[in-house]
């Protein structure tokens, strides 16, 4: 049981990472990752909304009639997005400006609606919360990662801090949309290659163990 819960949590981070494996929410991914801090902030905002809306929808799943579940989900999600927007405008105005229109657009982010529809509306509260948290972390990690790479190549800095004279040889294209696609695609290939490698190793290790078991059984 505990293992199941752990799986629910880590599922969104590695196995079904929303950005690199499910390829959901690519529009904000490409748009805001010009700087690492923007990616991190966007990820944090989405994580908060995912967690809260997953909990809320899971709590209300018996109450919400099937026929009107989509409008009900959207109202719940929009409420939490507006909360994030208000809090960010008050306390983090520069990030609020940097994220611009993509902050209110979290309402229609497919990761959130997909998790609400596919997971929260048919699972208990705790599992839904863990799922939201895991998916949110996965999204945040991916966005920050893309942001770090793009900022490093395109502006020669790391979280806004210039690294030596790297800024003089930076390639502006990586901050532009075209560079976003390039980085996104390359990182996706890399992540898939690495996780494929890890899966193969796991598979061969388990088959090795099985053979060993067979031998032992024969003896």
């Amino acid at each position: 049981m505990r293992n199941d819960r752990l799986n629910t949590l880590t599922n969104g981070i590695v196995k079904s990472n929303p950005t690199f494996r499910l390829v959901l929410g690519t529009c904000p991914t490409l748009a805001v990752t010009t700087q690492a801090i923007n990616g991190l902030a966007m990820g944090a905002a989405v994580t908060f909304v995912l967690l809260c809306s997953n909990i809320m929808i899971s709590l209300l799943k018996k109450l919400i009639l099937d026929r009107v579940r989509i409008p009900a989900f959207v109202v719940i999600i929009a409420t939490f997005v507006t909360v994030v927007q208000m809090v960010m405008k008050k306390f983090l105005p520069s990030l609020y400006d940097a994220l611009g229109v993509f902050l209110p657009l979290i309402v229609v982010n497919c990761i959130i609606l997909a998790r609400a529809e596919a997971f929260a509306s048919c699972n208990p509260v705790l599992d839904s919360a863990l799922d939201g948290l895991g998916m949110g972390f996965g999204f945040t990690l991916s966005l920050t990662f893309i942001g770090i790479v793009r900022e490093l190549l395109g502006a020669g800095s790391f979280f806004g801090m210039p690294i030596g004279s790297l800024g003089n040889v930076s390639m502006t294209v990586f901050i532009l949309p075209a560079g976003g696609f390039l980085v996104y695609g390359t990182l996706m290939a890399l992540v898939n290659f690495l996780s494929g490698l890890a899966e193969n190793r796991k598979y061969s290790a388990s088959s090795h163990n099985e053979k060993k078991d067979e031998k032992e059984a024969k003896v």
Partner: protein
């Protein structure tokens, strides 16, 4: 059958109304704690260009028409609360930016621009935002604004004369918008303070 249809309609409406009502109440509560006072926001941002308390500048009658020159306009004027003559902090908007327009704060002290800061802009980080760096703003500083100063001219080379500023490579749109905004501020200062033209 009819009864269950009515019941269903009622339940559907009721559930949606309850959810929307709770959502509205929650948002009202959050808004109460996070409401941003626009005047306070300007005052807080203005500390970037002027060290001290500011208040809204009240123009005399006949001097309160907006100043604009097509590409830029002055949207707000603030003066120090204490005794500090001939200091004006202007909120100026310039068009031609990458995403429409941007707003900057310009401090004109005794006939010279001494400090510029970003007020509201959505330029691409690391690209257009280079035109919002201090290194670009510095080109406008400490140049005497006389009654017939023609305004700053943007050039795509090294600035040769004192009224020229060189655009930031890769950020020509944002450079243009900033120059437009600065020129609107300069025009305001010339019309209202130096020449006292009644519009």
């Amino acid at each position: 059958m009819r009864k269950s249809l009515g019941y269903e309609i009622l339940m559907t409406a009721l559930v949606l109304v309850v959810i929307a009502g709770i959502a509205g109440a929650l948002l009202g509560l959050v808004n109460h704690f996070t409401e941003v006072d626009e005047e306070e926001l300007i005052a807080r941002k203005a500390t970037a260009v002027y060290d001290g308390d500011l208040m809204k500048y009240v123009a005399e009658e006949g001097f309160d028409a907006p100043i604009e020159d097509g590409a830029g306009e002055v949207v707000g004027v603030y003066v120090p609360k204490g005794n500090d003559p001939d200091v004006y902090v202007l909120v100026a908007r310039g068009t031609g930016a990458y995403k429409g327009s941007l707003e900057i704060l310009v401090n004109i002290t005794r006939g010279k621009i001494v400090k510029i800061a970003t007020y509201e802009a959505n330029e691409t980080p690391g690209l257009g935002s280079k035109a919002l760096d201090e290194s670009y703003f510095r080109q406008f500083y400490n140049k005497a604004i006389t009654p017939d100063f023609p305004g700053f001219a943007l050039v795509k080379r090294q600035a040769a004369t004192s009224d020229e500023v060189s655009a930031v490579t890769g950020a020509s749109k944002s450079s243009t918008a900033v120059t437009n905004a600065v020129n609107a501020a300069v025009k305001w200062y010339q019309m209202r303070v130096l020449r006292r033209v009644q519009v």
